[in-house]
Amino acid sequence: MAEMWISMGPQHPMTHGLWTLRVKVDGETVIDTEPDLGYIHRAVEKIAELRDFTKFTTYCDRLCYASANTWSHAYIYAVENLLEVEVPERAEYIRLVAVEIQRIASHLMWLGAYCPDVGNLTAFVWCLREREMMLDLLQELGGSRLHYNFPRVGGVKRDLPIGFAQRCRTKINLFLNRIQEYEALLDESTVFLVRTQGVGYAKPEEMVNHGVTGPNVRAGGINYDVRWAHPYSVYDEVDWEPSVEKPSIKGADCYDRYRVRVEEMQQSGRMVLDALDKMPGGADTHHQHGDEAILAKAPLRAPEGTSGFHHFEDSRGESMFYIVGGGEQRGKFPYRNSIRSPMFITIPYASKCMIGYKVADIPAIMGSFDPCIGETDR
């Protein structure tokens, strides 16, 4: 067959968002790819310069609809670094619970989206069923289902609701048991293995050179988890360990990237259970602590020349916020807010990973990198 370019996207089941992958194929073999991003650029960084610090949190929620809490928390940590706010420890624990539940929900969304990519709809519905439990928990915390606006500068919006800890333990334990069902459906299925193993090799050193982070690079055997390498919240106090795969000599394939996320979900579940146990003041008590236990006072203005930075282990990699204080001229507004999106770096690399494989492998490889276009285009 002759070579031809196929334009996959912006409306295509493979893209998981709004972008275009131009693929050059020779028959069924992919010989070149070109990602084309920027369809939903919303100028979020410019919007940040026109709002004061508290009003930008909602925009951070909208950076990635599948993982809203992690993005708003990343931003809040950067603002607290800028304004030099001390956060109460109970608030840190509540934040950790919220972020890790969000991470489980995000990875479930990924697994649910990945299985139809390789042709199975059952796992999709099972994953969304479990994600529903996580969204229920987050709804109790933040009040809405997808965009929570939960963290505040200096703490969190509100304390744990009545009975939250008990429901959270029930659901997390139920979820941890149900992971076995996924393994029965996926790991023990030869068809899933032949679709994911030996497909989409990503070499660890290449990933590091490109700046790929998060589960994708941990699937390549590189133990870089910001929560572990530079513990920021109370991650050094709860019981967990980063999930790292041992890849083959050729690099990490789609199966490694699947395994690392499943193990990370288990670690997050463990972390939530442990944080509920270790929470200062107890997780089962409610509103006996006063607002000062969950929310510290924070200034509204940042002096000129100051800058805040935080790097955060997002569900998809290392997200960074760099905020420069506005000073007298800008008032309550920041001078600059720069966002580093992990997927903006990963998607071009993933597009190059699929050269040499079949057309049928394109969704299997692209999906395994967990693309999220909201944060990519910002």
Binding site: T29, T122, M133, V194, Y201, P363
Partner: protein
């Protein structure tokens, strides 16, 4: 039991058409053509009867696809369609019967309370009620969702018909006709019962398999004529896949014909009934091969490469819309239905009751067509089960599997059939030992293959399935090397 079946539709139709021909043509000066007229009338009526039976019973297939799949997937919407009406989400419901005058809504309230009690998932804690939703799957005996198919058909009828610009309009229009007409023609040769069939030539098996091979041509036409790269790839994949799986399928069917000593489908069924042994127990390997190749032929998961929606959007269907899409979709299910019916006919004893001669005298009041349809629906449930548990196999893996495994295995199966027919079969009823031993060997092999999996080595082994081709980035002139 062909003679014991009281549902002698063909006999009734013959009597009717002879009576009609007698009183019309027989009274005229063309009275010599009386017999021919009656035959033609019989064939026409039987064709309509079989077509109607197939089209109405096909709704069950769609219902199984919807409901059984939803149950496996644990999907809330499809499994709880009736529940939201009567029981309500978490016990809450629209209290419409409370608005009825003079307390006439009370029976509805009692019914609802009772349904809540026996089938609801009420719990004081909302999350626990939600977890309980898992075990509750609607009021199944009300057949919720059965008439969704009619709504779908109405929707297809109202859609606009568009031909893409620069598509080859003639071929684009003709392709669905090739696919649909050849698919419907299949059912002319599939007997639904000893007396319910449309045509019965001596070589009906040969006719059937020949017609089964026409649709891939239409698929290829459709993919090529749409002027779309996705449909082109889908059409080519379809051609490659159907060619690769047609040959093992034919060899497997040939083994059945050899064992039964006939190329006539009705005689194949009667051989199984008279000789007291279903082919499933005599040719278990053949049954497995037939199942796999048929799933590939009707393009269902795990072999639905030609319409892989993840990468090819909808494969060769992409540019079709409206009623033609609906009819293509129907043709797809008709092919699956034909596959299920053929499996039941070739391997499950056709219209013989479960239990064979032992129970036949007690179940004589059930017509043979009921047994055949039940068996084919069960087979379709197996198709749905396979679809729900497996993933989609890649193109090269499908072809490799077909050529490397299925073709040699089907030849082995043919050898087994020849051996059974020539050396084991003594011209009388099978001794119970023969199917017993063969089935025991097959089950033992299956168990051995199933437990021979070491989960430890599964994770750490060298990845054996890599198909990476060394291909550098393309540039001007790179394809000429």
């Amino acid at each position: 039991m062909a003679e014991g079946d009281w549902l002698d539709i063909r006999g009734w139709v013959e009597a009717l058409s002879f009576a009609v021909a007698d009183n019309t043509v027989g009274m005229s000066r063309f009275w010599r053509q009386k017999g021919t007229t009656a035959d033609i009338l019989t064939e026409l009526i039987m064709a309509v009867v079989v077509f109607g039976l197939i089209m109405t019973t096909m709704l069950v297939l769609l219902w199984i696809e919807r409901k059984f799949f939803a149950r496996i997937m644990d999907r809330r919407g499809a499994t709880m369609a009736m529940r939201s009406l009567w029981v309500g989400e978490g016990g809450e419901h629209v209290d419409w019967y409370g608005l009825l005058p003079f307390g006439t809504g009370a029976p509805f309230r009692w019914l609802n309370r009772w349904l809540n009690k026996v089938a609801g998932s009420d719990h004081a804690v909302e999350s626990v009620a939600r977890v309980h939703d898992r075990s509750y799957h609607g009021v199944w005996w009300m057949l919720p969702g059965f008439f969704q198919n009619i709504a779908d058909a109405v929707k297809f009828l109202t859609k606009e018909w568009m031909v893409p610009t620069k598509a080859d309009k003639f071929v684009f229009e003709v392709a669905p006709f090739i696919i649909i007409s050849s698919t419907i023609m299949l059912f002319a040769f599939i007997p639904l019962g000893p007396h319910v069939w449309s045509a019965n030539p001596d070589l009906s098996l040969l006719f059937l398999m020949a017609i089964f091979g026409i649709a891939p041509l239409g698929v290829f036409f459709a993919g090529w004529s749409s002027n779309n790269k996705y449909t082109l790839i889908g059409g080519i994949r379809s051609a490659a896949q159907l060619t690769a799986y047609e040959i093992p399928l034919l060899v497997t069917v040939l083994a059945v014909a050899v064992l039964s000593g006939s190329m006539n489908i009705i005689e194949i069924v009667e051989f199984q009934m008279v000789m007291d042994g279903w082919n499933l127990f005599l040719l278990p390997l053949g049954a497995a091969l037939f199942l796999i190749t048929m799933i590939a032929e009707v393009e269902r998961i795990p072999f639905d490469m030609p319409e892989a929606e993840a990468e090819l959007v909808e494969g060769w269907w992409t540019e079709y819309g409206g009623l033609r899409w609906g009819l293509l979709f129907m043709a797809e299910y008709l092919r699956a239905y034909a596959a299920c019916l053929l499996f039941a006919i070739f391997f499950l004893g056709g219209w013989e009751p479960f239990g064979g001669n032992l129970v036949a005298q007690y179940t004589a009041f059930i017509p043979g067509i009921a047994w055949l349809l039940i068996k084919s629906w069960l087979m379709f449930a197996v198709f749905v089960w396979v679809r729900a548990s497996l993933h989609r196999v890649r193109t090269d893996q499908i072809l490799e599997f077909g050529w490397r495994w299925l073709l040699p295995l089907s030849l082995v199966n043919l050898g087994i059939a020849v051996w059974l027919r020539l050396w084991v079969w003594q011209g009388e009823v099978w001794s119970p030992l023969v199917p017993g031993i063969i089935t025991a060997i097959a089950v033992a092999l299956f168990v051995l293959l199933a437990i021979d999996e070491d989960p430890e080595s599964l994770g750490g082994r060298e990845r054996p399935y890599s198909v990476h081709v060394k291909a550098g980035p393309a540039g001007p002139g790179t394809h000429k090397k």
